[in-house]
């Protein structure tokens, strides 16, 4: 279960590193709304990690009249939510639901591959296949993190639109992509700097809330641009371009350059050279060599796939820039701002550290600019990490953004930090799903995440996160059903938690009952399945729905309770035939059936029901056949060894009219003798101390004896 973090008021998880012990204790308000002083609290855990706290106010003094305020209140506290304040509850649930399929598919692929490769995914053919699966999984999860579609592009493109108004990105997606870049996408390993550049272009706006960024600067400038007549005289124009260039947003810079006044037709003749210089810079920018397989739509530059080609092109391109820098045409450019602005852009292209530092606003932007212009051939995490450290010294952060912590953890190859950052900043959903990327991409991470911890009862960190996430899912009535997917992927403790979760479902609601049974059947949880059905059966029985009660108890194979019910049904035996409850009673016998193995009394009840039915059909005017059937049923019932002795007399007493049938005797000599023997046996049994007298008139026995004697006489005469 989760722990609170001070930053986001979100319960995250069990801390990974020992330092987290020093995490400050989170003081969490419990808004109860009572005006009076609080007397006492009591609480109870609900499903998942929901805590319900009862807040009792001080009881009012006896003399004072009630002040009308409630005696207390119950506050429900969800100790974990999405893990990220940017995701609302409904969106989070959608995310939780859509990520189930990719996760489950990956788990099943992992199992089948492990089985095929005999437990090791490191063998080459399986490894390659596994990589493909992980990449597919990563892309799918990543795509579900953007559910807002970008607005349609307008047909007439606004020439003054510098910053595209795309859908607001999420930190969660930004974090996911970082993990994908560094852990999963092995094909892009050689061009990680370019991927980081794309990443910053997509997510720079995320930092705008807490830090000054190039994105926010461009947004400001775009608003200003609408009212500006002569852009090249506006210093912000040149600043915006140098900033955009520093982080490689080449298309933005070229677009802005083309807004330069010297391009206007009325200016061409007088500002030819100036325009030529502007265009020369624009061309150089758009021809910048990029070490990547392809460019994204609308992006500028020339792609090179291999390092030697790229190096060669880079040298050539740099020479061209230097040449332009030393060109004599600058002397012919009269417009001071243009000359200085363009020279500044050239300094950026030449990798002047001071100019780059001035053009960027935070270390991350500076870091990217270093890749582009100072160390274009950087490779390996170590050198990237060193570079990041240097950039942080130049631009120290006062407020650290949660994505920064993650990037530094990744570059520092510190899995513990990456895990801690993921868990603290992005919550249990991220942890569970990102673990797959980490274990696939780093051996160290795999060992760390799969190691079993005896202090935690033998679970690994991977399993721990799944358990935590499943608990978060369990906290809500709309998401508990997907928790089993994650729990059944836990080897050690998942089933135990799943059983607890299923046991806590309100199974008196039929939909929940059916869902729970479905889950139990799927994962072969027979004991808990029976238990759930037993709870439902008892609930229905006690709430007057006897039929449903019996049905569910039968499904639960709860012979013990069914026997008890059968015993209750015995109470009907010997009661007046016209009893209103006979129909219900008859129905229950029908439901109980005779298949029960241990419910020995049920066979008797079934036979008794048949007898009772035929007896009901016998009236004064009934044909003798019907009466004969009833008499046969009586004899058969009395012959049956399962008929309890205590019912012998009530049965015979009920059948008096059969024994004294007017027309002719219904019971033959041998049958009558058998019944007389039974009566004799009963008389003997009455002498025993444990005999229970039937609730019958005192003369019942003598009337039965007399009826049998008369019947015997008549039967002898008949034969």
């Amino acid at each position: 279960m989760p722990g609170l973090t001070s930053e986001s008021d979100v319960l995250a998880m069990v801390p990974v590193s020992p330092e987290s012990e020093k995490q400050p204790l989170v003081n969490y308000p419990l808004r109860h709304g009572l005006k009076s002083a609080i007397h006492r609290l009591s609480f109870s855990w609900a499903c998942g990690n929901t805590l319900r706290v009862s807040v009792f106010r001080k009881p009012p003094s006896e003399k004072a009249d009630g002040d009308g305020e409630a005696g207390g209140t119950v506050v429900e506290v969800k100790l974990s939510n999405s893990g990220d304040e940017e995701v609302d509850a409904a969106r989070w649930r959608r995310m939780a639901y859509t990520s189930v399929t990719p996760f489950a598919l990956l788990q099943s692929r992992k199992h089948s591959l492990s089985a095929a490769s005999r437990m090791s995914l490191d063998i080459p053919p399986y490894k390659a296949e596994w990589w493909e699966h992980v990449i597919e999984y990563s892309k799918e999860i990543s795509s579900l993190l953007t559910d807002r579609k970008p607005p349609p592009k307008s047909i007439i493109e606004d020439p003054k639109s510098v910053v595209n108004a795309i859908a607001a990105p999420m930190c969660l997606k930004a974090a996911w992509e970082l993990l994908e870049i560094f852990y999963v996408d092995k094909q892009s390993q050689s061009w990680i700097p370019e991927r980081l550049l794309d990443w910053l272009a997509d997510y720079n706006s995320l930092f705008s809330g807490t830090l000054p960024t190039i994105h926010s600067k461009l947004v400001d400038f775009q608003q200003e641009l609408v009212g500006v007549q002569v852009v090249e005289e506006d210093p912000n124009y040149w600043d915006a371009m140098s900033s955009a260039l520093a982080v490689g947003w080449l298309e933005t810079v070229v677009k802005l350059l083309r807004l330069h006044g010297s391009y206007r037709f009325d200016q061409l003749s007088s500002r030819e050279t100036e325009n030529g210089l502007v265009e020369a810079v624009a061309v150089l920018i758009s021809k910048m060599p990029r070490m990547r397989p392809s460019l994204r739509e609308d992006n500028l530059g020339e792609c090179y796939q291999t390092k030697p080609d790229f190096m060669k092109a880079w040298e050539k391109w740099r020479t061209q820039i230097s040449k332009l820098d030393c060109s004599s045409y600058w002397l012919q450019c009269d417009h001071r701002q243009t000359r200085e602005g363009l020279k500044n852009l050239i300094q950026i292209l030449l990798g002047n550290p001071t100019v780059l530092s001035n053009a960027t606003f935070n270390w991350m932007e500076l870091f990217i600019s270093h890749f582009l212009y100072i160390r274009p051939f950087t490779a390996g995490l170590e050198s990237m990490h060193n570079s990041a450290q240097k950039c942080m010294q130049v631009k120290p952060v006062s407020i650290s953004h949660k994505l920064f912590g993650l990037i530094l953890g990744i570059l520092g190859e510190n899995t513990e930090v990456v895990l801690a950052e993921c868990s603290r900043s992005f919550g249990p959903w991220m942890m569970v799903h990102a673990v797959e990327l980490l274990t696939a991409g780093s051996t160290h991470a795999e060992i760390l995440l799969h190691e079993e911890h005896s202090k935690l009862g033998g679970v690994s960190i991977e399993e721990l996160h799944r358990l935590i996430y499943a608990q978060v899912l369990s906290s809500h009535a709309l998401t508990w059903q997907i928790a089993p997917i994650y729990l059944t992927s836990c080897i050690k403790q998942g089933i135990g938690l799943l059983e607890n979760l299923l046991y806590k479902q309100p199974v008196q609601h039929s939909q929940i009952l059916l869902k729970s049974i479905e889950i139990c059947r799927l994962y072969e949880l027979d004991t808990i399945n029976s238990n759930i059905m037993r709870i439902a059966g008892v609930h229905h029985w006690k709430h007057g729905r006897k039929g449903s009660g019996v049905f569910w108890l039968q499904q639960a194979r709860d012979e013990f309770r069914l026997n008890r019910i059968a015993k209750q049904l015995f109470d009907f035996v010997g009661k007046s035939v016209s009893d209103e409850g006979f129909k219900q009673w008859e129905g229950l016998i029908e439901l109980l059936g005779s298949e029960s193995r241990t419910a020995g009394g049920l066979e008797f009840l079934n036979k008794y029901r048949d007898f009772r039915r035929s007896l009901l059909q016998v009236h004064g005017a009934t044909p003798t056949d019907a009466a004969r059937n009833a008499a046969e049923a009586l004899v058969s019932l009395m012959k049956n060894p399962s008929t309890p002795q205590r019912f012998w007399l009530p049965l015979l007493y009920d059948s008096l009219k059969l024994l004294m049938w007017q027309e002719r005797p219904l019971v033959n000599v041998s049958q009558t003798q058998f019944l007389l023997n039974k009566l004799q046996e009963l008389s003997m049994a009455r002498l025993r101390p444990d005999f229970v007298e039937a609730d019958l008139p005192s003369d019942a026995l003598s009337s039965v004896r007399l009826a049998l004697a008369t019947n015997l006489g008549r039967a002898i005469l008949e034969e």
């Binding site: 003081n27 419990l30 409630a70 135990g496 006690k542 309770r561």
Partner: protein, 325 residues
């Protein structure tokens, strides 16, 4: 994240949620018990569905019976009695709450009561103010009127002599929450009494062969055995090789690992793994979450504390929930 879901009546003294968290029973000073229900399992809207007087005495504690036995609550009243009420339809009447059993106060009052489930029967352990512990057994699951006294003993592990004239302030019982056929019924019990031997928490297990309850572990270090115990909580076990039990005394909250295999004397191995500081406040209630990984506690300091263990086995306070108006 916090949301007020139920307004309690004036004079409410205690509350208890049923197994699924969809019904709340609230007892009050005038002996009235109110039942709140949510009709839709997905909603957090609760309405009072029933209200009835269980006794002309303040209700001190309410405990729900396991759902396998229906909707049943046990109420401990200030006059020392223990009453069982059940929601049931009888003889084609409407659904209503009925008194099914009253354990009247005879010589001592009931301090705590807890239900435990075994495969065939429901058990009820009650701890009394004279230091006696009684285990009752329900034989017919549909007849909550008939309870059989299965055992009666004192919470001592070694002494054979009985302690007379005992006076207990409080007691706390917690059953082993694991429900399984193989698992033996067991519970842990501690007292706050004037008799040192009774106080320390002991784990009691039912010996099926000899049909008796045996103490199998004592959860106190030799120097702390006389410390009065205010409350105990047995963690759900979803796969740990050991049991985890929290015991709160006047000094601290101690967490114990209890092994599962008895030694030749029939005793289970115990290890005190953590001492959580209560900062001199008295602990009144402790409860484990459904995974047994987080312990919540509350007491005289008027806040809820959440405790967790990190990967290195170190227990620490993660958060507190503090009431604010």
């Amino acid at each position: 994240m916090d949301n007020a879901i139920i307004k309690l009546d004036e004079g409410t003294t205690c509350t208890a949620w049923n197994y699924s968290g969809h019904r709340l029973a609230a007892g009050s000073t005038d002996g009235t018990l109110s039942i709140f229900c949510s009709t839709d399992p997905a909603s957090s809207v609760f309405n009072c569905s029933s209200k009835f007087k269980v006794r002309e005495s303040s209700i001190v504690k309410v405990v729900w019976a396991p759902p396998e036995y229906g909707d049943v609550v046990a109420c401990i009243c200030a006059d020392g009695s223990l009453l069982l009420w059940e929601e049931v339809v009888e003889d084609s009447e409407l659904l209503q709450w009925k008194l099914c059993k009253c354990f009247d106060r005879i010589s001592s009052q009931v301090l705590d009561v807890q239900f435990g489930v075994s495969q065939t029967s429901l058990k009820l352990v009650a701890a009394y103010s004279d230091g006696q512990v009684k285990v009752f057994e329900l034989l017919d699951p549909f007849d909550l009127k008939n309870w059989q006294l299965q055992a009666e003993f004192q919470n001592v592990i070694e002494s054979v002599s009985k302690f007379g004239n005992v006076s207990c302030r409080s007691a706390s019982i917690a059953w082993n929450p694991l429900k399984g056929e193989i698992q033996q019924s067991s519970f842990v019990l501690g007292f706050d009494s004037d008799t040192p031997h009774l106080n320390s928490s002991k784990v009691w297990e039912f010996d099926q062969d000899h049909q008796r309850w045996l103490p199998v572990a004592e959860l106190a270090l030799p120097a702390d055995k006389a410390d009065p115990v205010s409350t105990v909580a047995w963690a759900p076990n979803i796969g740990r090789p050991y049991e985890l039990i929290a015991v709160a005394t006047c000094k601290e909250i101690a967490l114990w690992h209890v092994g599962s295999n008895p030694d030749s004397d029939g005793r289970l191995s115990v290890e005190k793994v953590a001492m959580l500081s209560t900062h001199d406040s008295e602990v009144w209630q402790m409860e484990w979450d459904m995974s047994g990984m987080t312990l919540a506690t509350t007491g005289s300091d008027g806040v809820v504390h959440l405790w967790q263990c990190n990967l290195y086995g170190v227990w620490h306070e993660q958060a507190i929930l503090e009431p604010t108006s």
